[in-house]
Amino acid sequence: MTKTIREIITATFTEVFSDQVDGLSLPELSDKLILLESGLDSMGFAILVSELEERLGFDPFSISDEAFYPSNLGQFISFYEKHKP
């Protein structure tokens, strides 16, 4: 069964988090999670977006005309779902 965008994002988030963040445990990946308080810094998000581009085949930040920077995980996932080519 193909994985949903949400599943791919949460799995990738978990991997990038364990790779980039030392000494913190993974927060609960709920829609309300404030991205910048998750423990990942902006470089962490840059890696997450790059990794997701590899896995999903698109980067909504580059293809969207909408100027948007999501603040929580729910907005982040919706942004990907909305801009899936």
Partner: protein
């Protein structure tokens, strides 16, 4: 502006409003009357400032400019290797700090005297004297090599943009601090505020971004200057629009169209300006039309005290606020005063865009990274055969540092990828760490011996 100290300049420009608030820190507020009463200290010495508390740091600048010979403020967030390197670039007598002596071993090894920042506050009548020094400020810059350089400035060049303001006391501006105040961009905010009777709201660089934004919104900040990467973070906080911003400034790296659009959407009433400046060239140009890049007409006519030209796709700048030179006397300007910025420029229709560096330096969120240096560091790993380092475009940080790696034969790819990641984390400064690591079969070398 001739040989006048920071304290006297504040007194001259803000004399009728000494009751105004100059600085709001996390725990402390200073009026202009507090600043102009700070005693001068350490006459004639060459001094390093290594101070974590931003309010104590500003007080030290006011105390020491005009009395010390050389003033070299260094961020307490500096990497230890960079710090050792910077200390070797000049001869210093004293380190002024608010840290414990145990955190200052590196300075003791260099036989520097330690002066606790509190000592600057004490009025010592016997030491009051009239020695005046036109203090030289040494500003660390990432430069074009793998290690920082020190650039020589005077207060006059650092504060030239601040001193241009007319009617400066008519508007009540409140600046929020996001730049490190030991860097060129930080001084622009600091002096624009202090020499024009405005207020600067400071928070520790150690604070979380959400706390810093909260602090700005509680203190009704109206002006913020930050890099595009910092602005993306500010917007991602979700609470940015609580700040009653009237002026937004972007600098330090190229501002792309998405961040300019996103800021316009979040702050419809604010003026949005992006700038081009450098520690060496001083203040360059700025534009507030909401479009990425700069108008080509800037190249044709002199823009105030700044001239610009493009030669062989490179940007050259001549500015009245440029640095005196490097501390080691490496050449900075040509005979006509032009500075080679090292920035590559692309002209498209009526705009020109900064697209990279001529020497291959990669700008990652405002930090300059030398790919050759990183390549050499990675080649020290026992199982790496060849490396190619490059910047991968990122909508979050402008660029992310990436490495294609060819392993030596007969090594396990999965095991080695983890070993390389650990190697990078252990041995590299944070800004120098390649964050994307791709193991590839082969890295091609061209006929000229260069990596493809």
């Amino acid at each position: 502006m001739k040989n006048i100290s920071l304290k006297k300049l504040i007194l001259k420009r803000v004399s009728k409003h000494l009751e105004y608030i100059a600085i709001v820190g996390s725990f402390k507020t200073l009026l202009y009357s507090d600043l102009v009463n700070i005693p001068n200290k350490l006459f004639g010495q060459n001094v390093i400032l290594y101070i974590a508390d931003p309010v104590a740091y500003i007080k030290a600048l006011v105390s020491l400019d005009g009395s010390v010979k050389k003033l070299c403020p260094i961020s307490t967030l500096s990497d230890k290797e960079d710090l050792t390197h910077l200390l070797a670039l000049g001869e210093f007598d004293t380190v002024v700090s608010d840290l414990d002596e145990s955190d200052l071993k590196i300075f003791r090894q260099k036989n520097l005297r330690y002066c606790n920042v509190i000592e600057l506050d004490t009025h010592d009548k016997e030491r009051l004297n009239n020695i005046k020094n036109n203090t030289t400020w040494l500003i660390p810059t990432s430069g074009t090599t793998s290690r920082p350089k020190l650039v020589r400035h005077k207060l006059a060049s650092l504060a030239s943009s601040a001193l241009k303001s007319k009617n400066y006391l008519s508007e009540n501006r409140v600046w929020g601090q996001f730049y490190d105040f030991t860097r060129f961009a930080g001084y622009q905010i600091l002096f624009n505020s202090l020499l024009n009777g405005h207020t600067v709201v400071m928070s520790s660089l150690y604070d979380k971004i959400s706390e810093r934004i909260q602090h700005c919104s509680e203190n009704l900040v109206t002006h913020i200057s930050a890099t595009p990467t910092q602005w993306r973070k500010i917007l991602m906080s979700g609470i940015a629009t609580k700040i009653p911003l009237k002026q937004i400034v972007l600098g330090g790296e190229a501002a792309d169209q998405p961040i300019l659009n996103a800021l316009r959407k979040s702050f419809p009433m604010a003026r949005i300006t992006h700038t081009y400046a450098s520690t060496e060239a001083g203040l360059g140009i700025s534009v507030s039309d909401g479009l990425a890049g700069f108008p080509v007409r800037f190249l044709e006519s002199s823009k105030g005290s700044v001239d610009l030209k493009i030669r062989k796709e490179k940007l050259f700048l001549r500015s009245s606020s440029s640095a005196l030179g490097y501390n080691d006397d490496t050449k900075l300007k040509d005979q006509q005063g032009w500075i080679d910025t090292g920035d590559l420029v692309k002209v498209e229709e009526e705009r020109f865009y900064i697209i990279g560096r001529t020497n291959g330096i990669i700008n990652v969120g405002g930090d300059k990274v030398n790919p050759e240096h990183i390549r050499h560091l990675l080649l020290k790993h026992p199982n790496i055969e060849q490396v190619r380092i490059y910047g991968k475009k990122s909508p979050i940080t402008g660029m992310v540092l990436a490495a294609d790696i060819q392993l030596k034969t007969n090594v396990n790819e999965k095991v080695e990828k983890n070993s390389i990641k650990t190697f990078v984390k252990d041995k590299f400064q944070q800004k120098d760490q390649p964050r994307i690591i791709n193991i590839v079969d082969e890295i091609l070398i061209s006929s000229t011996g260069k990596l493809n």
